[in-house]
Symmetry: C2
Subunit: 118 residues, 2 copies
């Protein structure tokens, strides 16, 4: 793991990897390249009609919607989301994100570093 | 501290507190109310001509610019920032944010939870 070093980068310059049905993920600040010690910042992009997996895991998400319109499932309830919306998904909460709009749904999704994920 | 529970809220509904010269902070996801276990999400807003303090501390920032134009100091170098820019400020890095635009500069600023700040 590289030592932590400052960086400034536009999200569009960070590669996008597949992450679900019409979804992709950019690891904006990670452990491998940046040496982020406690938590990691990712940008999730979901195409119109696409979604992230409906799942649960033993660590939390902290989300912020940057662009687009969608819905988020938290346990058994759906919430409409748009730009500026903040979503906290505690560990163990069933969740899924769906793009219900006409443009790309973009949201930040921060998670704890690997050592805190179990 | 309350137990972690899911939430969805627009940032504008979270109160803004003073945080520097023309700057304010909204604690979007915190320990006290949300029981966030590892890291906390805040939104910093800086008025035109305003700035955050120039300082350093023993924990990292992970930032994402939501809106506006500005500059960030990292050690001895200034970088121009605008919407979509990602900034990683490792622990111990001298830093400051300045609004150099005509509108409000809004950026997310995530930090580790208190127990990981020293």
């Amino acid at each position: 793991m590289a030592g932590p070093r400052p960086k400034v980068v536009h999200y569009s310059r960070v590669p996008a990897e597949p992450a679900g049905d019409g979804a992709s993920i950019r690891w904006l600040i990670n452990e491998q390249d940046d040496g982020a010690p406690h938590f990691l910042m990712r940008l999730i992009e979901v195409a119109p009609g696409g979604n992230t997996p409906q799942h649960t895991h033993p660590y939390e998400h902290e989300n912020f919607v940057v662009e687009g319109q969608g819905k988020v499932l938290l346990e058994n309830q759906w919430y409409d989301i748009g730009p500026g919306e903040v979503i906290f998904v505690p560990a163990g909460t069933l969740h899924q994100y769906v793009n219900s709009g006409k443009g790309t749904l973009r949201f930040l999704c921060a998670i704890p570093a690997k050592k805190y994920q179990s």
